[in-house]
């Protein structure tokens, strides 16, 4: 098998396979799984170290959470304030209600500049609206400049992570892609050689293409500024060299005050890449005459966000600052990587964000792509209770599906409906236990264990055994003991010691 990116799944939630099926492709791919766990372990270790050194980490988290909550509470006024200040500083602000509108605005802006090429900073928001293929089909070639994005663009792969999009690709795979696409036959897989190849490729783009497209980490309402953090400096090139800069940003990225950056930049860098500070923090306000892009546009993207905002329990989803700490901590993502989620937003945050951005019309398998272990909530720097939102969304999925005729005989739905009837009355539950005990005998082997079950039970027994049902339930034992004069003699209390 040649080490190419042949395993990338479709990341369009309207077309993607349900998570359990999509995950199968990855589970059978040892190289991909090794790449993912290796990369995750490296990031996790760095994050753990830098969070541990911050004695006031929990206070920082609380502050970050409060800042994001406040921003969302008054999002409308903050966005208007941003628009006013940005416009006053020479920028242009555009409002896009959905992906199609955002794509069209960006295309029109590019056409005004007669642009046929654009350089891009890594932006997952542009992937969300599938900007690159749209521009390509309208005669504009977008060149990614983030190292990971170059790897994916040249290798025709899809991002599998929101901070390190090519984390599923290893060094020798990168070498193969660069050698093939850049025509460098003798390229080694030495990181320096790979970086030098990327630099040579990029320099030519930076120096010749006068139009750039970026995302943004934060919009500052108070000043009308935009903030971008990155590690490579390639983003800085895109933000300073071109004549025209178009920034696409989700409306939820607003911060009320400039000083909020103090908290947000600390939690973001430590959570995302395990650094005290991001190597490159770019901040700009509108246009500065004679310095940097002179033609600056911000496209504010809704694309489902305002409907999330309108729902109190779901709103916390929008507090996300895209640090990916939840993704790195997730034991499910660890096994499947990102492509199985069928969205540019994978992992726990993707499992709650994607179906909501799709207005719950697609990606209904994602809220179930979690064991509810809570590791995501524990690390989230803005305290998004992801398990709580997952449960909200699961109940919405059930409400959608439960009245569908097809679901009536679905073993899961049937089983849970019956279980509810049984749990409503103890006698029913106890009768079911007795019947279950008789039924289970059919499947119980001589060793007392069940090795194979039919229907949905087979999903369990495909990799685990199940101990056969014991001859007596606990409540039967209790009743027999209470009713029997020869109840077990209680051993006298032992000497115990008070806890410290």
């Amino acid at each position: 098998m040649s080490p190419t990116l042949q395993d990338h799944a479709e990341l369009d939630p309207t077309l993607a396979e349900p998570f359990p099926q999509a995950a199968l492709h990855v589970l059978r791919n040892p190289q991909l799984r090794k790449n993912v766990t290796h990369a995750i372990d490296v990031i996790q270790a760095k994050r753990a170290k830098l969070v541990a050194e911050k004695k006031d980490w929990e206070a920082l988290r609380s502050a970050a959470s409060a800042i994001r909550a406040q921003a969302l509470e008054d999002l409308g006024p903050y966005l208007e304030q941003f628009e006013d200040r940005c416009t006053a500083a020479g920028g242009h602000v555009h409002w896009a209600s959905d992906a199609a509108e955002a794509r069209q605005i960006i295309l029109d802006l590019l056409r005004q500049q007669n642009a046929t090429e654009a350089i891009k900073i890594k932006t997952m928001t542009s992937a969300e609206i599938q900007l690159n293929p749209f521009l390509e089909s309208h005669g504009v070639r977008a060149f990614e400049t983030d190292l990971a994005e170059i790897i994916l663009q040249l290798g025709e792969g899809e991002p599998s992570h929101i901070v390190v999009p090519a984390l599923h690709v290893n060094r020798s795979q990168v070498r193969e892609i660069f050698a093939r696409r850049m025509g460098l036959k003798n390229l080694s897989d030495d990181p320096q050689a790979l970086t030098a190849a990327a630099r040579a490729y990029l320099r030519q783009k930076f120096l010749t293409i006068p139009t750039a497209i970026s995302g943004a980490n934060f919009l500052i309402a108070e000043t009308g500024s935009v903030a971008i953090v990155e590690s490579e400096g390639n983003g800085r090139m895109c933000l300073t060299l071109p004549r025209t800069l178009i920034t696409l940003v989700g409306i939820e990225k607003a911060l009320p005050r400039f000083q909020d950056l103090e908290v947000m930049l600390q939690v973001l860098a430590r959570s995302a890449t395990g650094e005290r500070m991001n190597p490159y923090t770019s901040l700009w306000t509108g246009v500065t005459p004679g310095d940097g892009p002179q033609n600056f546009h911000v496209v504010l993207l809704d694309n489902g966000r305002s409907s999330i905002l309108a729902r109190p329990k779901h709103r916390q989803t929008l507090k996300c600052i895209r640090c990916a700490a939840c993704i790195n901590a997730c034991p499910v993502y660890r096994q499947t990587g990102g492509h199985a989620y069928g969205s540019v937003y994978p992992g726990p945050i993707g499992a709650i964000l994607t179906p909501q951005l799709q207005h719950m019309h697609h990606a209904q398998s994602l809220p179930y792509a979690s064991s509810l272990c809570g590791a995501c909530y524990e690390v989230c720097p803005v305290k998004i209770n992801i398990p709580e939102v997952l449960l909200e969304l699961r109940s919405e999925v059930v409400n959608q599906e439960r009245h569908q005729v097809l679901r009536f005989f679905d073993p899961m739905y049937l089983g849970l409906r019956i279980a509810n009837l049984l749990f409503a009355r103890a006698w029913r539950f106890h009768l079911a236990q007795r019947l279950g005990r008789i039924g289970a005998r059919l499947f119980t082997r001589k060793d007392g264990w069940i090795h194979s079950l039919p229907s949905i039970g087979g999903k369990w027994t495909q990799t685990r055994d199940l101990r056969g049902l014991p001859p007596q339930t606990f409540h039967e034992w209790w009743a027999a003991r209470a009713g029997s004069p020869a109840a077990p003699v209680q051993t006298p209390p032992v000497h115990t010691k008070e806890a410290n």
């Binding site: 979690s370 509810l372 051993t491």
Partner: protein
């Protein structure tokens, strides 16, 4: 002290030995235990799968049965987590004020087993003996929902003859997740394989936990793979004494 035992539906059906161990242990410590014969399920399975109305019925039933209990002890951290984390929301959404008040009054009296022993009874040494090397699996709900911290380790440290083995990546999920284990059976199995590798690497004879659900998952794979390790609920270790060693069930 008087306490009411909520055994949970799956312990009642699948792991009665855990219930018997809780009874032996707490009675040995002088607790006057009762058992409500009408108890069934806390509603966790329905709530976690998205069947909110059904979960509400079961939650309401629980509160009605235990409203007057002096203390409720539950040998399952995920069921206690269900009550602490999800009941308030369910009652706010679907219940009335009376139910909310009843639950708010009941909640402080509900304990998971290790909480009950350490926080309520104030004991760590419960006089048990279990001369084996034991790995403690810190279940997700115990760690991240109930914040049990070192309680289970403090209890295990006082067991005669017991040698605690530490599981690498100990706070990572075993992949059970209730209906997740069948809805996403393959991913769940991959998580289980990774966890099992860590658990087996301890060289312990037993893997213990405060949740039989995780142990059913881990134990099911151990049995399938002839892994040479058994699972046992922490209550059974604590109930075990030199005179009356743990029941050799599994």
């Amino acid at each position: 002290m008087r306490a009411s035992l909520f055994i949970t539906c799956y312990n009642d059906t699948l792991y009665p030995e855990t219930g018997r161990a809780v009874v032996a242990l707490l009675e040995r410590l002088g607790v006057e235990l009762d058992f409500h014969p009408k108890q069934t399920c806390c509603g966790q399975m329905h709530a976690n799968t998205g069947f909110r109305g059904e979960a509400f019925s079961q939650a309401k039933r629980f509160v009605q049965l235990y409203r007057d209990a002096e203390a409720v002890v539950i040998p399952s951290s995920s069921c206690v987590a269900m009550m602490r984390d999800q009941y308030p929301g369910l009652f706010e959404e679907l219940g009335n004020e009376q139910l909310q008040r009843d639950f708010a009054a009941l909640l402080p009296r509900i304990s998971e087993l290790s909480e009950f022993l350490i926080d309520r009874l104030g004991v760590e040494d419960v006089g048990s003996s279990f001369p084996h090397r034991v790995a403690y699996h810190a279940s997700c709900h115990g760690v991240r929902a109930l914040h049990l911290g070192d309680r289970p380790y403090r209890l295990l440290a006082k067991v005669r003859g017991l040698e605690i083995a530490s599981i690498p990546n100990g706070e990572r999920c075993c992949g059970f997740g209730g209906t997740f284990s069948v809805k996403n059976a393959e991913v769940s199995s991959a998580m289980l394989a990774a966890k099992l590798q860590d658990v087996i690497s301890t060289g312990a004879e037993y893997c213990t936990a405060l949740d039989n659900s995780c142990l059913m998952h881990l134990g099911g794979a151990m049995h399938r793979q002839y892994a040479g390790m058994k699972t046992i609920h922490l209550a059974e270790i604590l109930a075990s004494t030199e005179d009356s060693p743990a029941e050799a069930t599994v």
